[in-house]
Every structure is written in structure tokens, then in C-alpha cells.
Symmetry: C2
Subunit: 200 residues, 2 copies
């Protein structure tokens, strides 16, 4: 790995952390350069535009997310345990990843929902992948007999992500110390409903 690639990763890593707090739009080349003790132009040369930088930040964050959340969770037994692992790992993935401002994807989702362009497209693709991962795990849960056969995996994926968004709101904006337990209660409710459907 050459020098260029190394600094490029250092830039993206720091940009990712910064963006988790101030958003992708809140990123500024000048601020990044100051923080990393290099010149604006030197930093800028690694990307050809700010938009590319934002896009690459999302890509980098996605790699990290997969490493921290998805891959380890997939090591858990199929079905409910795996779903539980996904959920629990998501709950503190920002801590593990060292993102001081909370989940970058949640921040970016709200920021970009009205700004068409390649960065938004990238985020949409990543978020759909994430919902797909949840949905697939839920589907195997049906196959394993953990959940009822008439469970809609996509609906469960949607609902579970909603629980996560609720957690993010309670934890980060409201600084509610009960945020984690609230989220876990929401998760268990989802599972309960899912099992009830088994006998329907």
C-alpha cells in the first residue's frame, strides 16, 4: 500500500467521524485539512470534488458497517439468534466504529432525502442492501420455524429499522438514558408479534 492510499484512508476515516457529527454537507475541505495537518489543495487532490469525497465516505462507512455489524452477526445461528445479533451489534456499532456523532447513515438519510445526485443514490443503494440483509435473516427465521410462515420479512425489516431509528432519536437527541432498554423492548415486541403469527 503506497503512501497516497494510506493518507487517503486517513482522510476518509477522519471525514467519516466528522460527518457523523456534522453531516456530509457539513464536511469542509478546509476543516479536514486543518485537522489532519495538511494543505487544502493536497487533501483535495485525492478526490476530484467534494461530492466524490462524500460518496467515498459513504463507501468507507459501509465497509466498516459490514465488518462490525453484518459479518459477525452472520456467524450466529440462523434465524432468531442471528436477527438478535444483528440488532445488538447495530445498537453499539457507532461506539465500536468510533463515530462520535451517531450513525452516519441515519444522519445522511435525513440530509440527502431531498438532494438528488450520486451521493443520494449511493446512500439509497446502501440502505436497501441493509434492509435486504435484515429481510433475508428474517426469512431464514421462517425456514427455521422460529417465526410464523405468514410473516412478511420485508415488513419486519422495515419495523426493525424503525426501532433503530427510534433508538437513535431517543439516545442522541433526547439523551434518554432509557433509550437502550426502550429499543430492546421494541425489539422483543416485534419478535412476540412474529411468534404469535405462528399460531394464526
Amino acid at each position: 500500500m503506497g503512501k497516497g492510499e494510506r493518507t487517503r484512508e486517513a482522510i476518509l476515516d477522519h471525514a467519516m467521524r466528522l460527518a457523523s457529527a456534522v453531516g456530509l454537507a457539513g464536511l469542509s475541505i478546509g476543516r479536514l485539512a486543518t485537522d489532519l495537518e495538511m494543505s487544502k489543495s493536497g487533501l483535495f487532490a485525492h478526490f476530484q470534488s467534494k461530492e466524490t469525497l462524500q460518496d467515498q465516505v459513504l463507501v468507507r462507512a459501509s465497509q466498516l458497517f459490514i465488518e462490525i455489524v453484518v459479518r459477525p452477526a452472520l456467524a450466529a445461528p440462523r434465524g432468531e439468534p442471528r436477527l438478535r445479533a444483528l440488532f445488538e451489534r447495530w445498537l453499539d456499532w457507532t461506539r465500536t466504529a468510533g463515530l462520535p456523532g451517531g450513525c452516519l447513515f441515519v444522519t445522511a438519510a435525513v440530509e440527502l432525502d431531498d438532494r438528488p445526485g450520486p451521493v443520494r443514490d449511493r446512500l439509497v443503494a446502501l440502505q436497501k442492501e441493509w434492509l435486504d440483509v435484515i429481510g433475508r435473516v428474517a426469512r431464514t427465521g421462517i425456514a427455521e420455524g422460529h417465526f410464523g410462515g405468514n410473516l412478511d420479512p420485508e415488513q419486519l425489516a422495515h419495523d426493525l429499522y424503525a426501532v433503530m431509528l427510534g433508538y437513535h432519536h431517543a439516545a442522541r437527541l433526547l439523551r434518554d438514558p432509557r433509550a437502550v432498554s426502550r429499543a430492546r423492548a421494541g425489539f422483543e415486541s416485534l419478535l412476540t408479534a412474529t411468534r404469535a403469527r405462528k399460531s394464526a
Copy 2:
């Protein structure tokens, strides 16, 4: 109502709509002045700082929210019907209010969660009020016998808001046409769980 007050309201109204799309931080005095066909300095004079403008935008949005969502819903019969009214009115309050960029509070919540200051404090207070409204309606639902006595109203408020956040994500970022039905399904699940607790 004097001239000053009238233009001030016009500014806040437009700023609110603009902020729903670009966020409170995305507001710019220059942009607002151009849109409203007045000078930057003339507009600026109505507020003493951009921060005050942002704060007043939140206040204005809150008045509108109460008019559009809360007050009409409180006209519905106590308990479950009232909770349902709250939910349904929330679902299209941004349309009714003419907010092209989705719920301003959701946008602001993510924007401000890492930026201490009076604007953040204002938003936190408003969001707690909102959760309180939901919680109180849920509590009367217990009194009416619609929900089980061991239902935690605050938890239900949290969960219901999570459903709303999930809707916002699906509708605005993913442009999912099933967002509304997904949200309604989530809402019904909450109610079902709530009723199940009745016999527990």
C-alpha cells in the same frame, strides 16, 4: 398587525418550508432574501442573528403542528380513536402544512443532536412535549379500558414515534410507495400488542 409583523411571518413561513428540505443549518439569509424579493439586511433586521431565526422557525413550526395535528386529534373520542387520529394526522401533516421536504422536526432532530445551544434546547423541549402528548393519550386509553393496565404509556409513545420515523425514512429517502401501508401495519402491531397485554 403591523407591517413588520406581517413580513416577519412571511419570512418564517418560507424559512420553515425551505428548512424542511435543506435543514435549519442549510438556511441562508441571502437565499431567503432572494426568494422573498427583499434585501439581506432588511430581512436580517427582523432577527438579530441566524440562530434566532432558526429558533423562531422551530417555534412557528410547532404552532402549525399543534394546529394541524394535535388539536384536531384531541377532538376524537378518548383512548384508541384519539391515538389513531394523532397517528393518521401525523402521517400527512407535512402535506397539509405544505412542507415539501418532510417533517421539519425529524430533519432538525438529526441535524441538532450534536450541536449544543439554544436551538437544540428548543427542539428537545418541543419533542418531549410531543412524546408527552402521545403518552397522555395512551394513558387515557388505559383508563378507557382500550389498552391493558400494565401498558407503559411512555414506551408506547416511544414506539409510536419510532413507527413515524420509519415511515419518514421509507417515504422520503427510499421513496417506497408502500411506506404508508408499512407504517399503518406497524401501528396496528403496536395496538395489537397493547391489547394482548390486557389479558396478561
